[in-house]
């Protein structure tokens, strides 16, 4: 599939603006970002082939581009599907290691930038939905969120919030072990739900092919 550079460029601009807005609200981040210049991250997606480059300019602004010739500090490469899997993985670290996502170059730099950006409160959803519509926009926002925050840290945050909630309410104070068990149950549940969902999709497909043949 041939993609349209104008579309990718539009997405880049939208995300860039979203980050810009968030950075403006968090002045400390701008300085931290400036400290990371020159940093170039290349994200290569195959099937369909789309590359997006994120870099930090001298003023500490995060810039995105669909074409760039500067040698990247670090490159991430995967199929669209694998990026998707990463976005929905219960354990992105495992997805990274076991999946087919290739990371080359200076991974430490990637972690640094992730640390800075993941503290930012960026509204990924709105600009991407604006640019791409609700379906694709939402899906890509999920991927971006997963790359930037890592589902793991979201998990951790949920975990913390939940345990705070539980403690505050004083109803019960489970041990860390209990909580862990609780969360791995949830993970299992999510996994099972995923499996059920894909079975449903398969079934739906079979039904519709059956209907077609009967017709």
């Amino acid at each position: 599939m041939q993609h349209d550079p104008a579309v990718i460029t539009g997405i880049c601009r939208a995300v860039e603006l979203a980050i810009e807005r968030a950075v403006r609200l968090s002045p400390g981040t701008a300085t931290q970002l400036q400290g990371l210049h020159p940093l170039d991250v290349a994200i290569h997606c195959t099937e369909p082939t789309i590359s997006i480059f994120a870099f930090i300019d001298a003023a500490g602004m995060v810039k995105l581009a669909s074409y760039r010739e500067t040698k990247p500090t670090v490159a991430i490469e995967a199929t669209w599907r694998d990026f998707g899997k990463l976005a929905t993985a219960a354990d992105p670290a495992a997805a990274l290691i076991n999946g087919d996502i290739k990371i080359s170059g200076d991974t430490a730099a990637l972690l640094q930038v992730q640390r800075v950006i993941s503290d930012l409160d960026v509204d990924w959803e709105a600009p991407l939905v604006d640019a791409l519509g609700p379906l694709l926009g939402h899906q890509i926002a999920n991927i971006v969120r997963a790359i930037v925050h890592g589902t793991k840290s979201t998990h951790r945050r949920v975990k913390r919030q939940l345990s705070e909630f539980i403690l505050e309410e004083g109803r019960l104070s489970p041990s860390a072990g209990e909580l862990d068990a609780f969360f791995s149950d949830i993970d299992d549940l999510v996994l099972r739900a995923d499996r059920v969902e894909s079975r449903l999709t398969r079934l739906k497909k079979r039904v519709s092919t059956l209907v077609e043949t009967v017709k």
């Binding site: 041939q2 349209d4 104008a6 460029t9 601009r13």
Partner: protein, 254 residues
């Protein structure tokens, strides 16, 4: 414009009209004299803001670095020049060139407003006869300008001459939509809607009719690619954008 041209009976296209080669530049000038003030607003309106993305991708393809010299020919009101000015920094140079004094003067004002003039020089020049030294420029861009030039081959050769070896040319121009359906919609839009918008906003339907017609007369992707190659460029390729409504051609001076 040289006088020889004026006397020649050879004709060229001016939109869908045929005019004497010597007359085209004057007619094109009238068009841009008349649209200069409203040009930026119309650009946004007519393309729904898309021209910004087309230009942005063109700038990405330029891979311009700090310290370089960039020429934006047919640069009009200077929006590419302003972007390049940031990229080349204080050690670099940007030349905003156009044949039309009215466009350049709007451009100059705009650049002053943006505080971007310190590394930009503004030069009135014809793309066919660039008044710059051979091998002096790292990158040349011409955005939505080539179709207005009387002799495109002469212009491309002139750009080749002033580029440094390894230097890069980028031509951003309307082209041929790749799907027949899009082509039809686009025709309807540009022949019916553009002149009306032009009339309503800039009170100038004729100029916008010329713009629509000149787009159709412009060589398609592959023809322009051949022309860029014939002018001596190597590593030539193009990228379609928005379904081929525009394309950006790239050539390198070997």
């Amino acid at each position: 414009m040289n006088t020889q041209d004026n006397q020649s009976d050879e004709t060229t296209d001016f939109g869908f009209e045929q005019v004497k080669k010597g007359e085209k530049a004057g007619r094109v000038r009238e068009v841009f004299d008349s649209v200069a003030d409203q040009y930026d607003v119309m650009n946004d309106l007519m393309s729904g803001g898309l021209h910004r993305l087309w230009k942005r991708f063109t700038i990405e393809l330029s891979a311009v670095r700090s310290g370089q010299t960039v020429l934006d020919i047919a640069g009009g009101t200077g929006d590419l020049a302003a972007k390049f000015s940031k990229l080349v920094g204080n050690d670099g140079n940007v030349i905003l060139a156009d044949i039309n004094a009215a466009m350049l003067s709007v451009g100059r004002d705009r650049l002053i407003d943006k505080g971007a003039l310190n590394n930009i020089s503004v030069v009135q020049a014809d793309a066919q006869f660039l008044p710059f030294e051979d091998n002096s420029i790292d990158c040349i861009t011409i955005a939505f300008g080539l179709r207005n030039v009387t002799d495109k081959d002469t212009a491309l050769r002139s750009m080749h001459r002033v580029l440094k070896p390894g230097g890069r040319l980028l031509v951003l121009e309307f082209s041929k939509p790749t799907s027949p359906l899009l082509s039809k919609i686009y025709d309807a839009y540009s022949f019916a809607a553009l002149p009306i918008m032009g009339k309503l906003i800039a009170d100038d339907a004729d100029s916008y009719r010329y713009l629509a017609e000149s787009i159709r007369k412009h060589p398609d992707q592959d023809t322009l690619l051949d022309m860029v190659e014939d002018a001596g460029f190597v590593d030539c390729r193009y990228h379609n954008m928005t379904g081929g409504i525009v394309a950006v051609h790239r050539g390198i001076k070997g």
